[in-house]
């Protein structure tokens, strides 16, 4: 039993490292939270690609980037930036909102690439 744990643990870490290096290659898009609202409200991302959305909270009050459509939920502390990976998505519109401020909402718009 002991041996299998000792083997499994480093393997798990290697797995994590591989996943993270794959994530690092994802194209980045910026989404700001300014005066408690999302800028831009329509965030274009390429379809069928994993994308890193950098959610930058410019306010001092924390926000929660949440999307039921994308099953994503991340707290963004005040004056900081947090990455959220989304996709690969099929073309379409996906709603997101700030769970700490119901008035703030927006859409991820997934657009097919020319090569598709």
């Amino acid at each position: 039993m002991k041996w299998s744990y000792m083997r499994a643990l480093p393997l798990a870490f290697i797995g994590l490292a591989v996943c993270h290096s794959a994530l690092a290659d994802a194209p980045k898009v910026l989404l700001s939270i300014r005066h408690r609202h999302f800028v831009p409200q329509q965030l274009q991302v390429p379809a069928k690609t994993r994308v890193e959305v950098l959610v930058k909270n410019e306010d001092s009050i924390p926000a929660e980037f949440e999307s039921a459509d994308l099953s994503r939920e991340v707290v963004v502390p005040g004056k900081s930036t947090v990455s959220v990976y989304v996709g690969p998505l099929s073309a379409g519109r996906y709603r997101f909102f700030n769970d700490f401020n119901p008035a703030a909402k927006g859409w991820v718009v997934s657009v097919p690439q020319r090569s598709d």
């Binding site: 993270h20 001092s60 009050i61 924390p62 039921a68 991340v74 990976y85 099929s90 996906y94």
Partner: protein, 285 residues
């Protein structure tokens, strides 16, 4: 102030619903109140630590620290809820019988109580960290935010009250059916939390989505509506589920159900002897 009250109310309600259902499900077990209280205290402490280190967590593991932590908390809750339910499948019957006969609580040892404490702690920690973060930022912002802070505490009280009301409501169910109702509630709750954990594991990049948004029932019931949110907490309703979420949901649902059936059948067999019934003891296999 009203907006702040709603935000905090929603977070507190989620934890309160989970706690009141497990409190109901463990009805009749002596000293469970103290263990749940310990779980709430530990959860608040954990939530404060998570909130205080939110910035650090967000940046760790190449920005996947938050979803990894969420998935871990949820999976611990799933494991404990499953264990609790399987345990109740073998002991619920004798608990109900003893409660009826003696009219008071039954001593069972510490195992189900440990599970109860951990479930409470996880629920409070997950929702509480967001509440702490939200209220803290408002408080730090100065006196102009006093209204929002008051709203936050109103939300906190209202959410807790809703939990108490649900618990009181559950107690109206006749003892004969009580544990089968609560075990179904917990089973659905557990499957829902497993599917939520699947969402976070995908968010962290550990597992593929297996199809993002296999269907979309937002038009029928939006997950952002009050009813949609409530069903999301109680049975894991997701308007646009991924393949991975469905897989986690149904594997948990059928897996735990199969184990409950198995254990329940063994317990019924053991209880058919009058000596076993009197003692309320179930031999371990």
């Amino acid at each position: 102030m009203f907006a702040a009250a709603i935000i905090v109310f929603r977070e507190v309600l989620e934890a309160a619903l989970i706690i009141s259902i497990v409190l109901g499900a463990s009805r009749g077990i002596a000293a469970r109140g103290r263990w749940v209280a310990a779980g709430v205290a530990a959860g608040i402490a954990g939530a404060s630590i998570v909130a205080a280190s939110a910035g650090v967590i967000a940046q760790s593991f190449s920005s996947t620290g938050q979803p990894l932590l969420d998935a871990t908390i949820l999976l611990i809750a799933v494991a404990m809820l499953s264990w609790h339910n399987i345990w109740m499948a073998s002991h619920g019957r004798s608990l109900a019988a003893e409660m009826k006969a003696l009219g008071n609580d039954v001593k069972t040892g510490n195992r189900p109580l440990t599970a109860l404490m951990v479930i409470t702690m996880m629920a409070v920690m997950r929702e509480g960290s967001e509440v702490v973060l939200f209220l803290w930022a408002i408080a730090a912002d100065g006196a102009t935010r006093l209204g929002m802070l008051t709203g936050g505490f109103v939300g906190l009280l209202a959410g807790s009250l809703a939990g108490v009301l649900l618990y009181r409501g559950l107690l109206f169910i006749p003892v004969r059916h009580f544990f089968s109702v609560t075990s179904w509630l917990i089973l659905l709750l557990t499957a829902g939390l497993a599917s939520e954990a699947a969402g976070f594991l995908n968010q962290a990049g550990l597992l593929p989505a297996l199809g993002q948004g296999l269907w979309n029932s937002s038009a029928i019931l939006s997950q952002e509506s009050a009813a949609g949110r409530l069903l999301h907490v109680l049975i894991g309703y997701t308007a646009r589920p991924s393949g991975l979420q469905l897989l986690f949901y149904f594997v948990t649902l059928f897996g735990v159900y199969a184990l409950m059936r198995q254990v329940g059948r063994t317990a019924r067999y053991a209880q058919s002897g009058p000596a076993a019934k009197a003692a309320g003891a179930i031999p371990q296999r």
